[in-house]
Structure formats: structure tokens, C-alpha cells
């Protein structure tokens, strides 16, 4: 018999809100990146406009979590679930902001032809989105093995980031300055997004185990 059925339902609701926020952030990143590749200013503007939804949802999650703590007085794993939810929501909201940043950079680049193939950037984008997708799954299943895999994927993003930045710097001159700057920023935004996903994975680990990943292993 579940003694605290109502509380269980509320924890589930909190989890669902987080997943919804993560989907918004993931959508912002993929849509803004597609806007860059396809030079689609309308989509980029839409990403910028839609960011308010993510901001409001993060506030809603925080309020909901605070009420749960106040009213249910959770301990142990329940408390960690709620604390982790607050921290994870903050990471995800930041990721949605990076989607906005990418959209703005895409608009600045406009319809200029790209000065180099975007392959490493595309790789960063794909891996980062995969990391977000897996982190949602790890969060829902409270899966620490998956968390660890996500953290390892970050190294690959960093590798492509280095590659992209080196290529851009080689092309850096007066004529290319705008695009080198904007593409470097986009690479940076993707790299930071992957870092925040890594934070999420670490928080999932903490949530499940009650200790920090990488210590006492």
C-alpha cells in the first residue's frame, strides 16, 4: 500500500514539469540551430519569443518544489528529488537561453554564405541534443548508469568544440570577423549546453545515490 499517495502524485507532477521544460530547451536548441543552417530568420525569432514560456515554467517548478518542501517535509531521497528538481530546472532554463543566443547569432550571420563547413558544429549539436534526450530518460528512470554515459559524452563535445574554434581562428581576418565571432559564440553556446546537461546528469546521480559522482568510487 502506498501511504503517501498524494505526495507520490505530486512528485510525479514535478518530474513531468521538468521533462516538459527539458523538451522546450531541447526544442529551442534544435530549432535555432536549424535556423542557422537554413538561414531561417522567422524560426530564429520564434525561438527568441518562446523563451518566456521556459522562463515561466522554471518559476512554476520552483514554486511547486518550495510548496512541496513546506507542506510534505520530505527527507532522504524524497528531499533529494525535490532539491535536484530545482537545480535541474535551473540548468535547463539556462539551456533554453542558449537556444535564444544561438538564434540571435543566426540572425546576425543572416544570409552570408558560411566561410567553412559546419561539420564539427553539427556534431556538437547532435551530441548535445542526444545528451539532453538521454538526461530526460535518466531523470525519469533515475538511472545512474545512463547519467555516467551522459557525462562521458561531454568529452566528445569538447573535442569538436576545440576543432571548430581552431578552424575558425585560422580563417580569422577583417573580412570574416563577423562570422568567425558568431560561429565561435554558437560553438561556445553548444559547449555550455553540454556542460549544463552534464550538471543534470551529476544531479541525477546525487538524487539516486545521495552522494556525489566521482567521489568514493
Amino acid at each position: 500500500m502506498v501511504v503517501r499517495e498524494n505526495f507520490e502524485l505530486q512528485l510525479k507532477e514535478l518530474q513531468e514539469k521538468i521533462v516538459r521544460l527539458a523538451n522546450l530547451a531541447s526544442g529551442a536548441i534544435s530549432k535555432s540551430y536549424a535556423a542557422l543552417e537554413n538561414n531561417n530568420v522567422d524560426d530564429a525569432l520564434e525561438v527568441i519569443d518562446d523563451d518566456t514560456i521556459a522562463d515561466l515554467l522554471e518559476e512554476e517548478i520552483n514554486d511547486f518544489a518550495i510548496l512541496l518542501i513546506a507542506k510534505q517535509q520530505p527527507v532522504a531521497i524524497d528531499l533529494r528529488r525535490i532539491i535536484a528538481a530545482i537545480k535541474i530546472a535551473s540548468d535547463i532554463e539556462r539551456m533554453a537561453d542558449f537556444g535564444v543566443n544561438i538564434a540571435k547569432s543566426a540572425i546576425r550571420i543572416g544570409d552570408q554564405p558560411f566561410i567553412l563547413p559546419l561539420t564539427p558544429l553539427r556534431q556538437m549539436h547532435d551530441i548535445t541534443l542526444k545528451m539532453i534526450e538521454l538526461s530526460i530518460e535518466a531523470f525519469e528512470k533515475e538511472d545512474v548508469v545512463l547519467s555516467r554515459e551522459i557525462i562521458e559524452m561531454d568529452d566528445e563535445v569538447d573535442r569538436f568544440y576545440g576543432e571548430m574554434i581552431r578552424s575558425l581562428l585560422r580563417l580569422s581576418d577583417e573580412k570574416n570577423l563577423q562570422q568567425v565571432t558568431q560561429l565561435s559564440l554558437i560553438a561556445r553556446y553548444l559547449e555550455r549546453t553540454a556542460d549544463h546537461t552534464t550538471n543534470i546528469a551529476e544531479n541525477i546521480y546525487f538524487l539516486v545515490r545521495g552522494r556525489y559522482i566521482g567521489r568514493n568510487e
Binding site: 500500500m1 501511504v3 503517501r4 505526495f7 517535509q73 527527507v75 532522504a76 531521497i77 545515490r209 552522494r211
Partner: protein
């Protein structure tokens, strides 16, 4: 031992490894292999617990888990129940109190007890406090006055009653009565104070006052408290023992029990998933 492995595999026979994260202090009670039967009913099963000086030890667990039975063995009040049989040892300051040569009167001058329901005598506040000292032969009015003031101050009720010491204790509120009972307990200058759900009959503010008081008292006494209120155990105790079906499932420092217990059953209980 690596706690991770324990969680993933089986719990150890006892979950006591984390206890050492609370700084060491001298042991007041050492219970070893304690078993207790009420007739045929095996109420305490192989209990092994050490309790330390100047600490608050909380005992938690669902109704019928043996926690009240256990605390009543610590001052041998359990002997008042007919047909009780025990095996094993409870050492208080290195002497086995279950040994029948241990005089129960000697034990109870060292070990005071506060009960669930405040139980002042139908006497004045003053007479309640001096009841024990008088039995111990103290007659000097000045000495008794000093004991009254010191005990009532110790129980954080002096300021509320100092002008009406000779009024009947029944005129006090429930929370005040409970603090008076604590004062009565302090008057015999015990070493240990046992508290069996001391706040379960009190309102929230009186409860918090008693909790504050317990924190003060542990500077001078060792306190063992049975409580149904898990948040109370979390707030005031240094170590917590979780009892279930007459067994100690986990005994650890309180921070561990309430943040990351080792045993699934402890976690299920403190998070309210059963009990």
C-alpha cells in the same frame, strides 16, 4: 566498509558503520544480544546498541516495533509487566543492570524518566520537584529551595512558575506540566534521562520548547528519547536507532539516517512509505 556496495548488495547484519562519524564519547549504555519475551511473544530480538554520554539518542519505529519496550528495559521498568523474560546484557556504566544483584533503586537514582503524558503529582509545584530529594533524605529547607530553583531553571520553566511555587501543579498547562516533570527528574541529579514520547500530548509550541530544552540538557545529561515524530528525531538527536518488528534495522548518526540511510526499510519508513 563501502556504503555504496552495501546499498547495492545486502545490508550488513547491522547497519552501524556510520555511527563513527559522530565524534566518540564515553558509552553510557551498552546493550548486547538483548532478547525479550512477553510470554511467548518475542518482542526484542538480539538488540545491540551503545549509547553515549552527553548525546541525544533517538529511537524511532512504527507502533509495536519494540521501541517503548526497549527504553523501559533501560531503567528496568519493564519488570512491572508480568511474565517478561530477558536474555543478554544491558551494561550501564559497565555494570549489567539485568543482573538481579543490581538494585533497581540505585539504577533509578541515576536514570530518570519522562513519560508521554505529563504526570505531576497532585501536589504543589514545589513539592513535585522536591519529592525525590526528600525521599533521599534531604530535609534542609535552604537546600531544597536551591534544588527547586536549579531544577526548574534547568527545565526552562522557572520564570513561568517562580511566583506560584506553592500552587497545585495541575493548574499548569500541559507543556508546563511536562517541563515540571523534567524538573522533577533533574532534581535527583540523574546521569541519564529517558523520554518516552515526551511531546506527543503537547501542542506544537510546547513541543518546540521541550526540544530546545533537550538540546540544553544534553550538555549535562545523556538523553534517550523514543519518538513518533521523525522530524523531532531529526532535529534534536545525535544518533538514531530505527526499530522494526523488535529488531534494530539501522543505528547510525542522525544525519545519515535522515539524508541517506543504508537500509531500504529505514528509507521507506522515514519517507513515509510504510508505518
Amino acid at each position: 566498509m563501502n556504503m555504496t556496495l552495501m546499498r547495492e548488495n545486502e545490508s550488513p547484519a547491522n547497519g552501524f558503520e556510520n555511527v563513527e562519524s559522530v565524534p566518540f564519547s564515553e558509552k553510557v549504555y551498552e546493550t548486547s544480544n538483548l532478547n525479550l519475551w512477553y510470554g511467548e511473544n518475542h518482542a526484542l530480538k538480539n538488540i545491540n546498541l551503545d549509547m553515549h554520554q552527553n548525546e541525544v539518542t533517538a529511537i524511532i519505529g512504527p507502533s509495536g516495533c519494540g521501541k517503548s519496550t526497549y527504553i523501559k528495559t533501560l531503567n528496568r521498568m519493564i519488570e512491572l509487566v508480568p511474565d517478561v523474560k530477558t536474555t543478554g546484557q544491558i551494561k550501564y556504566r559497565n555494570r549489567n543492570i539485568l543482573d538481579q544483584s543490581y538494585k533497581v533503586e540505585d539504577l533509578r537514582t541515576q536514570v530518570g524518566m519522562v513519560f508521554q503524558k505529563p504526570n505531576p503529582f497532585p501536589k504543589s509545584i514545589y513539592d513535585n520537584v522536591v519529592y525525590g530529594p526528600r525521599i533521599h533524605g534531604i530535609k534542609n529547607k535552604k537546600v531544597l529551595d536551591e534544588i527547586v530553583e536549579k531544577s526548574l531553571k534547568g527545565a526552562a520553566i522557572w520564570d513561568e512558575v517562580k511566583d506560584r511555587l506553592h500552587e497545585n501543579a495541575y493548574g499548569l498547562s500541559g507543556g508546563q506540566q511536562q517541563r515540571l516533570c523534567i524538573a522533577r527528574c533533574l532534581a535527583i541529579e540523574p546521569d541519564v534521562i529517558l523520554m518516552d514520547e515526551p511531546t506527543s500530548a503537547l501542542d506544537p509550541i510546547s513541543t518546540l520548547k521541550i526540544e530546545e530544552l533537550v538540546q540544553e540538557l544534553k550538555k549535562d545529561f545523556s538523553i534517550i528519547i523514543v519518538t513518533h515524530n521523525m522530524q523531532q528525531a531529526a532535529r534534536i538527536s545525535d544518533r538514531t536507532a530505527f526499530f522494526l518488528n523488535g529488531e534494530v534495522i539501522e543505528y547510525s548518526d542522525t544525519n545519515t539516517i535522515f539524508s541517506n540511510p543504508n537500509d531500504k526499510r529505514t528509507e521507506d519508513y522515514i519517507t513515509g512509505r510504510f508505518g
